[in-house]
């Protein structure tokens, strides 16, 4: 009798197999990472742009964890990015700390802030959440702006010299080291995130996002799950910020600016949420588009970004990436 209950509770072989299949790494994922890391050794130049791209991707992935897996719309994700950037820059400037240690310090500090603000976040409804995320980011912006003696205020924090990586590899001016460093950090963190979201924990997040009420009925502690993933997302964003500060040797108020939170949201919308690779696709498209628009209309490129957002929402993301459905009649339901 007891045996049959244990059998009933443990997942069946078929379920376990489908779970394994769900978490399997596909060949094209592998190919992507081989190309991305290989680029560091093969390409002759263009590392500065690639480095920026890698950081943007990591930032987008961090938001995807929060938005795509927990369904929390954040308008202030730059808070963690900026905190990480300032933390890494200050540690490097005043203590000459090892870059890897700097990353870890930034990640933990950002995670701490994430944990603290998640207390606010799990209370209240949509609007409150939006306000809290945005409020935290604006608060940090003001703090960084006013604490001139520490952060350099509006002038930015200059004179950050990085220690060599592992005590021996110097950061060169062409950014080869920087890119290699960033892409490796990205690859490791991406893999970790992938394991995380394809674990039972990740599955429970899906349930929480799709139907919090039902998740609670299934015995999932909804608020704790949300707080956990928000904290993890914050740590990821902190690492992204730290990478930016370390590889450029500079931190300014720009890292906390509202447009950064909006941009990363746009990236995810372009790429799609909830499968991690959306961050990569979105970041690449966004960066290319930004460069192209900025070269055409240096001052007004934001107009086109805004137009894109409006079009995406009004037409619908699903419809926009499938041009062959444009002239078909809408077959019931919202597009």
């Amino acid at each position: 009798m007891t045996k049959s209950i244990a059998e009933a509770l443990s997942p069946s072989a078929a379920l376990q197999a489908s779970g394994r299949d769900w978490g399997r790494i596909r060949w094209f994922e592998l190919a992507f990472w081989v190309v991305a890391i290989g680029a560091a050794f093969v390409l002759p130049s263009g590392f500065l742009l690639l480095n920026e791209l890698a950081i943007l991707i990591l930032f987008a992935v961090s938001l995807d964890l929060v938005l795509g897996y927990a369904g929390i719309v954040s308008l202030g994700h730059a808070a963690f990015f900026g905190l990480g950037a300032y933390c890494a820059a200050l540690l490097a400037k005043h203590f000459g700390i090892d870059p890897i240690l700097g990353l870890l310090a930034s990640a933990s500090l950002a995670a701490l802030l994430g944990l603290l603000s998640s207390v606010l976040l799990v209370r209240g409804h949509d609007l409150t959440r939006l306000m809290v995320t945005m409020g935290v980011a604006l608060l940090l912006y003001e703090v960084a702006n006013k604490m001139h003696w520490l952060t350099g205020g509006a002038d930015g924090l200059t004179g950050v010299t990085m220690e060599p990586l592992f005590g021996s590899i110097e950061f060169d001016i062409f950014g080869r080291t920087a890119y290699t460093y960033s892409i490796c950090v990205l690859a490791i963190l991406f893999l970790l995130a992938r394991i995380l979201v394809r674990s039972p924990f990740g599955m429970s997040l899906h349930v929480v996002r799709q139907n919090p009420l039902r998740a609670a009925a299934l015995g999932i502690h909804v608020n704790r799950r949300r707080a956990t993933i928000y904290t993890i997302g914050a740590a990821y964003a902190g690492v992204a910020g730290a990478l930016l500060a370390q590889t450029t040797g500079f931190a300014s108020l720009d890292v906390l600016d509202f447009h950064r939170s909006a941009d990363v949201l746009l990236i995810l919308v372009i790429g799609g949420t909830g499968y991690l690779y959306g961050g990569i696709i979105g970041a690449v498209v966004f960066k290319l588009m930004q460069d192209w628009l900025a070269s055409m209309t240096p001052q007004y490129w934001q107009f086109w970004i805004g137009l894109l957002l409006v079009v995406i929402v009004v037409v619908g993301h699903q419809k926009l990436i499938r041009p062959w459905t444009w002239f078909r009649k809408n077959q019931g339901g919202a597009a």
Binding site: L67, V73, L75, V119, L120, R123, G124, H125, D126, L127, T128, L130, M131, V132, M134, G135, V136, L138, L139, E142, V143, N145, K146, F258, A262, L265, L266, V269, Q299, Y300, W301, Q302, F303, I305, G306, L307, L308, L309, V310, I312, V313, V314, A334
Partner: protein, 286 residues
Amino acid sequence: MLTILFDGVAYGMLLFVLACGLAVTMGLMNFINLAHGAFAMAGGYITVILTARWGIPFLAALPIAFVATALLGAVLERTLYRRVYGQNELNQVLFSIGLTLMAVAAVDYFMGAQQQFLLLPEWLTGRSTIAGVGIGHYRLFIIVICVLLVIALQLILSRTRFGSRLRASVDDPRAASGLGININLVFISTFAVGSGLAGLGGALGADLLGLDPTFPLKFMIYFLVVVAVGGTSTITGPLLAALLLGIFDVAGKYYIPTIGAFIIYAVMIVSLMWKPDGLFSNVGKK
């Protein structure tokens, strides 16, 4: 001290006029309109253009700004906003941020990035001292107009047929439309009036708040604070929230300038922590 209080009240009143449209549309349509500030900016620029280029007196420009932004709001509601109502929160946020970015860039393109100045008529620029309290005429003017507006809005909401329709729609749109209320008409007129009020607020505040293309982004958080703290179910909620915000902000900037806008965000976070649904909300009392 009293002067600061006075300035704070004027500032708060202004914020209320700017934000009350947002509160009503949010309560009515459940739509988070981050582009609300863009309407305010439109109102401000319309007034500046009317007074500076065409020589229309300031008092006449105000109603024109109201009507023009209301029309703009109505057109946008019909063409764009309507499609986004039913969509999820993320799409609403993206859509309205997109609109805001477009508005910022467009104004930058047509008007330039510099700050615009409003030519006030002479009788509004002075400052007199009454019983030891320094009172700027323009601020007094703002307070008077805003008080009149508040009274008018309250009367419309509580006494007229449209007001009761509006309240019914806010409480339960489905039941309201089942009772034969034309929800779409209520939506569009509310949106238009809300945008118009924002435009009027922008016109009034062009001098006090400063008007440049980044206006919608700079003040977006203020509007949202008013709505989030005040709740969306009444007019008095946002009014009190706006007054609190105005007084705190002015006093904070005066007494402890080093902290600056810090206070506002701190107050907002604390109040949202204490009462996540807004200080004056009646959610749950239904």
